[in-house]
Amino acid sequence: MKKIPQKVIHRYLRHDKKFPHVWCPGCGIGTILGDFLRAVYNIGIPKDEIVMVSGIGCSGRMPVYVDFNTLHTTHGRAIAFATGIKFSEPRLKVVVISGDGDAAAIGGNHLIHAARRNIDLTIIIINNSIYGMTGGQASPTTPLGDYATTAPFGSIEPEFDLCKLAESAGASFVARTTAYHTMEARQIFEAALNKKGCAVVETIAQCPVSYGKMNQQSSAIEMLKWQKENTVSIKSFDKLSPEKRQDKIVRGIIVDKDREEFTARYENLIKRLQKNESSKEKSKQQAGENQKKSKSKSKKEEKK
């Protein structure tokens, strides 16, 4: 493995953009951004070829800090927007950064359809189980029974399993990692970026300010420890007894399969149609030339 120089992420940050950033102390998004940038460095994708698209929320603010082509769109619509870019210009590497509110609630429909089409997008969902930017409201990934400002007596809604959702909708690559497991996160991001197809990565992140304080985990360290202790790699998971499996969240690459990618399928369609068309025209031309020949023959015969 290539050794990553220190401060490599500085090469990918915009230096004319004023820091500090909008993220709270202890937030997991910065760590995940660092992992992502190291993955980009490791693969060596040119900055010009990366388009980063986000929606609204804490994670939605990521693009402004990084030196790619960056677009900050409306709540939940980053995937639909990114689909337009990718489908229009397939040579670009299009990355969607999304939160759990963005991807699982308001934009859930776009997530399942991107997976169904298997369009070549790298979709990173930073799941902190809460609406952080608006002050701690319950999201579709807030665990049943946990507290939020809109669930003051504990959430009565079961949470989404985003990986299962993406898998069943047809994404050719599905993985889960956390802000704690930085090495693993980087490797997973690399694999996702290299995948030709819809790659969905759920990244569990801590939000000590909005989620932690309401759920007896007010420090980032405590929450990172939780990520370490309550998740298990897919390999170890398989070895666990069924009872022990119940409380564990699986990490790692859950799906990695080959399925024809959407823009490639469309390009094949174009080629097929245009081939048919040119062969038709050829046969028309030939028919025309034959006619001409026979006409000129008959003229010659007349002259004779």
Partner: protein, 385 residues
């Protein structure tokens, strides 16, 4: 199978198809849409035609995605379009605002049906006119064109692309189910005879480029994703670099230019058609399909001795305020004929209020105005003391 990137010649063509052909002639190579009566034929035609001209067609999961997708495609350099009807526009409105804020060239077709809500899906109306102007939240200038025939649907779709590219915003073609579904003669001129405008790309080096730094015409030059400019664009209030700035001063600059770029270029954008206006006492104002009932009504009123003229709004937004204000000083009053219960009439009233009377001949849609209603309104205004 039709292969040519653009057809030419004379056709007996449906309005919706003419719109799709106009788009292709204008250089549209991306269509994202969702089925809806009475606009589906546009999507169907694009699905059939675009792969043959190396364009991209995608049927999205909903209208929200369609609008988001065409904005995305525009940032990748394509000339994109979507087509829908009132309910679809209602869903698109948030992203239409994003398109306005990010200053993204694209075209949005609204083939109006009877409304509100699901209304009359297979029938027509003109009750989305104010929605076209004010549909998304916030202040922004906007452009709406209103064709009254399949031929004009073809022509104005091209104009819409030209305006979208020139002024960098989503431009509406607001027509109705009659024009969309009517089949008439459509003449498609040779491609070299068409005026096609492409967006202004920056000639600055990436290091010197500021994506929202406008030229004197108030329009910032464009750079597409992947060309080395690597800049940020956002729906947040932003400075010339495209970076969010949450200040009153930046908000003023940002929002004001979105309004001003249309206001100050209004003379270039506004297209109207005048009939017998010079010595008129009464001027009928109409647009789109309802304008086609005006001509015979005018003739009938003339037979009764009324000096009546007709101003057809081809561009409805920006509203031709100047023209209405000037006319109002010369005439007794306006008669506004539209298939809604009073929308564009409000604008005429506003501009004419000091000098002339304004009378509405409204209709809730699903049918057409009776000619006599228009004639009577003209006579009433003409005979008022």
């Amino acid at each position: 199978m039709i292969k040519k990137s653009k057809l030419r010649g004379e056709f007996f063509m449906q309005g919706d198809i003419a719109c799709a052909e106009g788009a292709i002639a204008a250089g549209c190579r991306f269509f994202g849409g969702y089925p809806i009566t009475p606009a589906s034929e546009i999507a169907e035609r694009m699905a059939y035609r675009l792969p043959l001209v190396d364009g991209a067609f995608i049927q999205y999961e909903d209208e929200i995605a369609s609008m988001a997708g065409i904005i995305g495609a525009s940032w990748a350099g394509a000339k994109p379009m979507t087509a829908t009807s009132g309910p679809g526009i209602s869903l698109m409105n948030e992203n239409i605002g994003l398109g306005m804020m990010m200053e993204t060239p694209c075209v949005v077709i609204n083939v109006q049906r009877g409304s509100p809500s699901t209304g009359l899906p297979t029938s027509w109306g003109q009750a989305d006119m104010m929605q076209a102007r004010w549909g998304s939240h916030g202040d922004y200038g906007s452009i709406s064109l209103s064709p009254n025939s399949p031929q004009e649907f073809f022509d104005l779709t091209i104009v819409a692309f030209n305006y979208a590219e020139k002024y960098r915003l989503p431009v509406f073609v607001v027509t109705d189910a009659v024009v969309g579904h009517m089949t008439e003669k459509v003449v498609i001129p040779p491609v070299e005879e068409l005026d096609i405008i492409d967006r202004k790309y920056t000639n600055k080096k990436p290091a010197d480029y500021r994506p929202y730094d406008p030229d004197d015409d108030l329009i910032p030059p464009f750079a597409k994703a992947g060309d080395g400019y690597r800049y940020h664009s956002t729906g947040l209030t932003h400075d010339e670099r495209g970076y969010p700035v949450m200040s009153e001063e930046c908000q003023r600059r940002c929002a004001k230019r979105l309004v001003d770029k249309i206001k100050k270029n209004a003379d270039d954008i506004i297209i109207t058609e005048e009939h017998d206006i010079e010595d008129a006492d009464v001027v009928v104002v109409s647009y789109g399909i309802s304008s086609r009932t005006v001509i015979p009504a005018m003739e009938k009123a003339k037979e009764k001795g009324v000096k009546v003229g007709f101003l057809r709004l081809v561009t409805v937004w920006p509203f031709p305020e100047k023209q209405i204000r000037e006319l109002s000083k010369q005439i007794k009053g306006f008669v506004v004929v539209e298939l809604n219960l009073g929308q564009v009439v409000l604008e005429v009233e506003r501009c004419a209020a000091k000098h002339a009377e304004t009378k509405l001949v409204g209709h809730p849609g699903g049918g057409m105005h009776k000619m006599d209603d228009i004639v009577n309104a003209i006579l009433e205004v003409a005979n008022e003391q």
